[in-house]
């Protein structure tokens, strides 16, 4: 059974249908890339999974439990973390405070301390800047903070929305390296990206989303070599 199963999902914004009945699944340990152009419904899909939006139809099942109507704040403690688009770090709070908020649903001080050490080990730059206000970090550092903050809840699956957006090429490579490490550390990853090439290069499988529908799916390397994908998303 898949770890995360999305079935016949339909999402509306008022009268406008953003997601037109999509189904896909994420198995434990996988890195799944959800690619597509602007407005294809990638972010809406992630928001629906993590409970920020309630779909009109369809179900989201996580580890055998239906979570379609579970509110966002209750989903974190089930083992799912969401790194939102645009990072959304708490700009007026320190790096340390941001990380602490990531562990908001956890109670054991020792475990939180352990996660903090793990995050600092993965992102040494965050430790160097732990007392700095998050709003003063560079874009790449904010992305690291957003990822570190999500890892502080000790998730079994992490949803990432456009982690490379607006970053310099050096940071983009670094962020994708980190995603690989997170995955190697045993966390399942559902990755939404406009940078299709990068996303598919680290993914196991991928889905191509076009105006609210999945038009193509398959192994990441197959998608990388698919002519239509190449044309539409890889700029080749």
């Amino acid at each position: 059974m898949a770890m995360l199963e999305i079935k016949d999902l339909e999402v509306y914004y008022g009268m406008i249908q953003a997601i037109k009945g999509i189904s896909f699944e994420v198995n434990e340990g996988e890195v799944i890339a959800l690619i597509g152009a602007n407005g294809a419904g990638k972010t809406t899909t992630l928001h629906t999974i993590s409970g920020l939006i309630t779909p009109k139809k369809g179900t989201v099942t996580f580890e055998g439990k239906e979570i379609t109507k579970v509110p966002a704040h209750k989903i974190v403690s089930l083992g799912m973390a969401h790194v939102p688009e645009g990072r959304r770090v708490f700009a007026s709070l320190s790096v340390f405070q941001n990380l602490k908020l990531g562990a908001y649903t956890r109670n054991s001080k020792d475990e939180i301390e352990e996660s903090l050490k793990m995050v600092y080990a993965r992102f040494p730059r965050l430790e160097e800047r732990k007392n700095q206000l998050a709003g003063t970090l560079s874009g790449g550092e904010q992305q690291m903070l957003a990822m570190g903050r999500a890892l502080m809840s000790n998730p079994r699956i992490i949803l990432m929305d456009e982690p490379s957006m607006g970053l310099s090429p050096i940071f983009v490579n670094e962020i994708f390296d980190i995603i690989k490490q997170v995955s190697a550390g045993g966390t399942t990853v559902l990755l939404v990206e406009q940078n299709a090439k990068k996303a598919l290069s680290i993914a196991d499988r991928g889905y191509v989303l076009e105006t609210g529908k999945i038009v193509l799916s398959g192994k990441a390397e197959e998608l990388l070599n698919d002519e239509s994908v190449k044309k539409a998303y890889l700029g080749e």
Partner: protein, 293 residues
């Protein structure tokens, strides 16, 4: 000596404004709305103490606790019934609703207690302190009011800095959506903010009516507006800002009354607000955070 005495009166009145302004500023900071019914919660709280002490003869501390409890429940109910359904509505809709709630509370009080002015008897039994050979007289009300304001202030700041619920408030005030993704119950946090603000309103009402002992259904409206000015003055959303704004406003009002004109005192207060907003639109302690992209 009269200057010092005016100054103390101003600080005392300012402390009341500060306590009310805390309610405004916290609710604004977290729910991003101006709760114009906040002043009327003060009035309801004062009536509760009035009835409890003067009519049923309950001891003062019990009456104040009762009033705080009533206001807390009232605040949470108002939020749940009037504001929560408008969470995603336009700001104007919320603002108009808040004004509507304000009139509603005033008229409910009018219906229950009548329009006549009630003589509120001070809940402070402390003797005045005489200084400088009796030339300076500090009333018990002044001392209790200022002390209460400082204690509330310190407790509130410690609560936000050290408690988990306080951290949740900080997160929600900055980005409600991201806070939800941390597992923070945003609606719960907003309700808690209303509860705290309203409990403070009850305390402010008691202190206000102990110093200025006439109680009518409109008692809360003007201090409510002034406290709002104080909150904006200090930088809305900032807790120390509410404190400083409140104290300054009280001092300006009393000194204006004493030395310029008692009729123009309110005009002076609002002029100061306009000047501050022109010079520093974010208020004294308000800050604009530059976000890096």
């Amino acid at each position: 000596m009269s200057f010092v005495s005016y100054l103390l009166n101003g600080i005392s009145l300012g402390s009341v404004y500060a306590i009310i302004a805390l309610g405004y500023t916290m609710v604004y900071g977290i729910a991003k709305m101006l709760n114009f019914a906040h002043g009327d919660v003060i009035m309801i709280g004062s009536y509760v103490v009035f009835v409890a002490v003067n009519r049923t003869g309950l001891p003062v501390p019990v009456s104040i606790l009762l009033s705080a409890a009533v206001c807390t429940i009232l605040g949470v109910v108002i939020e749940r019934v009037a504001y929560k359904p408008l969470r995603h509505a336009s700001k104007l809709a919320v603002l108009i609703t808040a004004i509507g709630v304000s009139y509603f509370l005033q008229n409910v009080a009018l219906l229950i207690f009548g329009a006549d002015t009630k003589a509120f008897s001070s809940v402070v039994s402390m003797k005045p302190i005489q200084l400088a050979d009796g030339q300076l007289n500090i009333s018990g009300e002044t001392i209790v009011t200022v002390a209460a304001c400082i204690v509330i202030m310190v407790c509130l700041m410690a609560f936000i800095k050290y408690s988990k619920a306080g951290h949740a408030m900080l997160a929600v005030s900055e980005d409600g959506g991201a806070a939800q993704l941390m597992g923070i119950n945003v609606n719960g946090t907003i309700a808690l903010t209303f509860a705290i603000g309203s409990a403070l309103a009850a305390v402010a009402g008691v202190l206000l009516c102990s110093t200025y002992p006439s109680l009518t259904p409109y008692t809360g409206a003007m201090p409510g507006i002034k406290a709002f000015v104080a909150a904006v003055f200090g930088g809305i959303g900032s807790i120390p800002g509410a404190f400083i704004g409140g104290i300054l406003l009280g001092v300006i009002e009393i000194l204006g009354k004493a030395y310029i004109s008692s009729q123009l005192a309110d005009a002076i207060v609002f002029s100061v607000l306009i000047i501050v907003l022109v010079v520093k639109p974010t208020g004294l302690l308000g800050k604009q955070i530059q976000e890096k992209v």
